[in-house]
């Protein structure tokens, strides 16, 4: 019996003026799968995530979550199924760390009390390797790596079904990148969540991915299991993962 994909993209298109960033993306993700999207800068990877979340409206195509169109039904209930770690963390500067982590849990009619939300935030901060005394600091007082961890704690705070990671290791040193990659992998497996990660970092790809999809020219150029990535036979993927200047992908875009 065919399982309904958790996320299914069919012919998704998005243009900005004359620039066709997504020119018909087709992609299926099974529940509990960790999919990593790779591709050159400006190939529309972040745009794809934003289209799925409804932060941007796609021009054409279908985005299905559990077989149902993403843009129908209650918007808050839809978004409550997602967690997202933004590229720069996107932590709210004006709020202390614990409030950032517990932000979603303090919204809506069934919101947690301040004490419960703070306790839960501290629990999530511990899960990402941060001490409780970080809870009362403000984001500006944290290092880049700590901000990523706080962002990760916020993404998992409400135990979402689907988690998006937008370039989770950008700007971090190799050791901290390794720590974040490990955390992402552990948390995704532990929660049984479906994860979609965007990255250029091949060490992240190998650490996080069950499956890999490469986007080029607004379409999925190659998709397959992580174990097949080195012998795909696809010249575009080969050039990308081996970081070669020569190949079918133009270095000046």
């Amino acid at each position: 019996m065919n399982q309904v994909p958790k996320i299914s993209l069919k012919g998704v298109e998005k243009s900005f003026g004359d620039k066709h960033v997504l020119a018909g993306v087709d992609l299926d993700m099974a529940a509990g799968e960790s999919m990593v999207i790779i591709g050159g800068s400006g190939t529309g990877k972040s745009v794809l995530l934003k289209c799925i979340l409804g932060l941007m409206k796609s021009d054409a195509g279908d985005i299905l979550i559990d077989g149902k169109p993403a843009n129908t039904g209650n918007r808050d209930a839809f978004l409550a199924r997602f967690g997202m770690l933004f590229q720069g963390g996107a932590l709210f500067d004006s709020l202390p760390v614990w409030h950032n982590v517990a932000f979603r849990l303090r919204q809506g009619s069934d919101r947690l009390s301040k004490t419960d939300a703070r306790d839960l935030a501290i629990l999530k901060l511990r899960r990402v390797g941060l001490k409780p005394d970080v809870a009362d600091l403000f984001p500006a007082e944290l290092s880049g790596g700590m901000q990523k961890r706080v962002g990760l704690a916020r993404a998992i705070a409400a135990d979402p079904e689907i988690i998006f990671f937008d370039e989770p290791t950008t700007g971090l040193d190799p050791i901290m990148s390794g720590v974040i990659n490990e955390l992402i992998r552990e948390i995704v497996v532990e929660m049984g969540a479906t994860a979609m990660t965007i990255t250029h970092d091949m060490s992240s790809v190998r650490a996080i991915a069950d499956k890999v999809a490469m986007i080029h020219d607004g379409r999925v150029q190659w998709t397959g299991a992580i174990r097949d990535i080195d012998n795909s036979g696809d010249p575009y993927l080969d050039q990308f993962i081996n970081a070669r200047a020569e190949g079918p992908i133009e270095s000046v875009r």
């Binding site: 409550a80 997602f82 919204q107």
Partner: protein, 264 residues
């Protein structure tokens, strides 16, 4: 041929500017409508509203107070010098009071708060836009219009009349200080003249203007920041746009309101 190309290029640039202007007007109209609609629909973020009262109102008091104090003093000197030409020096207290509460209080406070607050709102929201904090709010099931825009616009609208009320009193006091210490007015007579010639309509008209100016500066700060361009340059441009557009709108709406409230 070259002349024709130049002419077409000229026409095209006019067309592009006109379209860009129409797009901006349309987007601002939609933004204003959305703001008004979110003001009357929950959820309401009262903590944010309280915070904005403090930021926009309380922290603007020194700016408004100093502006109106010195303006009141200068006004007294000017009216005294002008009135002396017609032996009408005694009108100083009443004209200072009327000028302050009807016109200078709301307009100067509006412009000063636009400079202080609209710019800071635009910079804050612009930075939030650039660093994806506004997107993050949405993914956390929080409508940025309700969480960011409504508290700022409502706080600015409600707090401006209070600021202007305080500014009016300080401005009249500025006139009083100059009148009594420099122009030889009797203190009791100065106060008596101020109170006698001022009617309640003078004060309320100024406060109505203040509320409208508060709405304008809050809205323009939020609008410019919300649609900020990328990077430091985008945020800088948003800040400039907020102050310039809020100031021009305040001055033009002031004329319209004056026509409406005090028809010739």
């Amino acid at each position: 041929m070259i002349v024709l190309n130049f002419f077409y290029g000229f026409l095209a640039s006019i067309g592009r500017s006109t379209l860009a202007l129409l797009v901006s007007i349309g987007r601002l109209t939609i933004f204003t409508g959305a703001t008004l609609s979110h003001i009357v629909r929950g959820p309401f973020y009262f903590r944010e509203l309280g915070l904005q009262f403090l930021r926009i109102g309380y922290f603007s008091l020194p700016v408004v107070g100093l502006t109106t104090l010195f303006t009141g003093g200068a006004l007294a000197l000017q009216i005294y010098a002008g009135g002396a030409r017609f032996n009408a020096e005694s009108v100083v207290p009443s004209i200072v009071a009327i000028g302050m509460v009807r016109e200078l209080g709301p307009v100067l406070a509006g412009l000063m708060v636009a400079g202080r607050v609209a710019s800071s709102i635009a910079a804050e929201l612009g930075t939030m836009r650039v660093t994806e904090q506004i997107d993050a709010l949405t993914t956390l099931s929080t409508n940025p219009m309700k969480y960011l825009v409504v508290p700022r616009v409502v706080a600015a609208t409600l707090v401006m009349p209070l600021l202007v009320l305080v500014g009016n009193i300080i401005g009249i006091m500025g006139g009083y200080l100059v009148g009594v210490t420099r122009l030889g007015f009797n203190a009791a007579t100065y106060i008596q003249n101020t109170v006698d010639f001022l009617v309640i309509g003078d004060v309320t008209s100024g406060l109505i203007k203040a509320g409208v100016f508060g709405f304008i500066l809050g809205l323009m700060g939020c609008y410019s920041g919300y649609y900020s361009g990328r990077g430091a340059q985008g945020v800088g441009q948003a800040t400039t746009n907020a102050v310039v557009s809020a100031s021009i709108l305040i001055l033009s709406v002031n004329y319209l309101l004056t026509e409406l409230l005090f028809p010739a």
